[in-house]
Amino acid sequence: MEKYLEKFRFYLRLTGVSAISRRYFVMNTFDGALIALGVIIGAWTSGPVQPRTIIGAGLGVSLAMGISGFSGTYFVERAERLRKLEELEHSLLMDLHHSVHVKAQRTAMIWAALVNALSPSLAAVIAIMPFVFAHYGLISINEAVIISLMLIFSVLFMIGVYLGKISRERVIISGIRIMIVGIITAAIIMLLGNI
């Protein structure tokens, strides 16, 4: 296991996919959280809604984002990385098919695609979790909405903290900055929903 993990880390270093997947992770978790926010507040402000409807819509969105994230990234990364390999082969005047580069690039494509697929889905699934409790009657729908919003804002805050760590800025300020985007989005949707 340790051996495979070391090999995996070597492949990530070799391809430089870590920085790209960090960007994918932040962008797509942010996307997933805001989309879930849109679905939840949009449904809630439109009138009486069943928790089941929000769960269905949330899971559907989460699945669609996951599939779209995986396939889109895989094909984009594949095209870019195959081109890079070809350029490298041209510079070295050798066939790289038996080298670690091909395996590493293949691993990088799948890793980037997985990060891109799982990050928005995870954010959306976290956001709709309270509605599962509401569905079983453990909490009311209004409580579920409030808990869900709190979860979404926490996810956004964590993204900000993570970005603050990367940029070595003040993490709390960075967290609040990202959270404000979520609050503004929620306010706009509520305003439009009430028109």
């Binding site: 070597f10 270093r13 070799l14 391809t15 430089g16 350029e87 490298l88 510079s91 070295l92 005047l93 050798m94 790289l96 038996h98 080298s99 670690v100 580069h101």
Partner: protein, 89 residues
């Protein structure tokens, strides 16, 4: 009894991609069969590639194993610049 001569030291001119970086590249060669000590020095750097001098020392260096190790990392041996062979008498 006279033993077969073995390669103790070899200097190679190698063209490699920027990745793996030189410390990792050297560490991987030293893990190859027959290599005890590896010294890598950068000769020239290009947009996609680096030319390096690789000095490999060991008790019984198998050039083909070293070549396979180097090629596995996507690098290629341009020339064998120096070889030191010895045998016990």
């Amino acid at each position: 009894m006279v033993e077969q001569p073995t390669i103790k030291r070899v200097v190679l001119d190698v063209l490699k991609p920027h990745q793996p970086a030189i410390p990792e590249f050297a560490s991987r060669i030293v893990s190859c069969n027959g290599a005890h000590r590896v010294n890598v020095s950068l000769a020239e750097i290009d947009q996609n590639t680096e030319s390096i001098k690789v000095l490999v020392e060991g008790n019984d260096i198998d050039l083909e194993t070293i070549r396979a190790c180097i090629e596995e990392m996507g690098a290629t041996i341009h020339s064998v610049d120096e070889v030191e062979v010895a045998r016990k008498v």
